[in-house]
Amino acid sequence: MKKHLNTLYVTTQKAYLHKEGQSVVVNVEQESKLRVPIHTLDGIVCFGVVSMSPFLMHHCAENNVAVSFLSEYGKFLARIQGPVSGNVLLRREQYRVADRSAAASAIARNILLGKIANARAVLRRALRDHGEQPALKTAENRLSQYLRRLQQPMPIEELRGNEGEAAASYFAAFPQLITVKDAAFSFRGRNRRPPTDPVNAMLSFAYTLLVHDCRSALEGVGLDPCVGYLHADRPGRPSLALDLMEEFRALLADRLVLSLINRRQIQPGDFNDSAGGAVSMTDAARKTLLAAWQKRKQEEIIHPYLEEKCKIGLLPHLQAQLLARHLRGDLDAYPPFIWK
């Protein structure tokens, strides 16, 4: 089985990454800060003004190390893609299924089942921990209704409609999950591009990290991250990576953000406001979130479908593998990851 490897995050501005032998070397102001053999890495994520030698880019592409460049605030800017590898037959099948609406909507439906079930699990956990709250209970009931509705096959447009409604009910209950009573962390629905409040800034940042991991997981098993089922094709959009991350949004990203706020690891002072209304995290807050994210990925769980112990960081890879197996015809349906 594939091993969960580490990801290198470079947040120091003006850092320069280059290759020395088989290792990645991070230099800050002419001084080497870290040296990592490439085979211990799964990905490199660079924030803001971080540069990289072309030789290291080649080296990463050759060794299947996913490289993403994000803005200082976590907005996706670019990634480096090497020669497309993996099984061309698998990718052909992926495209064929995308063109067959029944097959595509079957996968999308399972993804959505996973997403809603996991969102509901997050609400249920809160109900268990903090007692009955009417708003949470309502949202939980609604999500259960959507799950029942999704038992029937339906065309993709209808699925997207249900997704939107389910997400709206989930986010309507989201403020109840924030136990810190501070005006800075009040949440009035999702907003993005740019996020205009601290909670949304953190969510957006966590989702960007999740996309990076899902994308590299898909590339790792030879699928094209740009042809999705739930998400329509759009130039430059990693639709399949966005599909894959749906199952993990609530579980990995939302819960992480919530616990950082609720445990007061991130404070109202950890954000910068810009003139346009955009809110972004400070350097320190971003590092806290990255650290928590990396730590979370090290935790082990039993995969509900494979019944194998695995690290959380490996979940996107395992789901990508299951999707590939379904596309190849080895599995009748795509089994989404449903948290227990």
Binding site: L8, Y9, G21, Q22, S23, L34, R35, V36, T40, L290
Partner: protein
């Protein structure tokens, strides 16, 4: 698994110094220098075979010595560090610069 590689290379002659540099470079490709002439290499069995073969090709059995310690998968419990030059655990530590 973690393999600890340590070596003594005779540097009296010029070819010896060259061997030293080459062996050090090879070790750096696979692991981290934890002390002078001591490397910790986090490798799977294929990578280890490659590293071992390369080292055995480079060293001179009449003048140098190589020692490999196999610390296995649960090496974290078998290791303590005191003092300066602590190196990150590449498997689990946060790599945030």
């Amino acid at each position: 698994m973690l393999v600890l590689v340590s070596y003594d290379v005779s540097t009296i002659s010029k070819p010896g110094r060259r061997r030293l540099a080459r062996i050090a470079k090879t070790c750096l490709n696979y692991g981290q220098r934890v002390q002078n002439s001591v490397f910790e290499c986090l490798v799977d069995s294929a990578q280890w075979t490659a590293l071992r073969t390369e080292l055995l090709r480079l060293y001179n059995p009449d003048e140098d010595s190589l020692r490999f310690y196999f610390l296995g998968k649960n090496w974290e419990q078998k290791l303590e560090h005191h003092g300066t030059k602590d190196t990150p655990n590449l498997e689990n530590d946060l790599l945030i610069i």
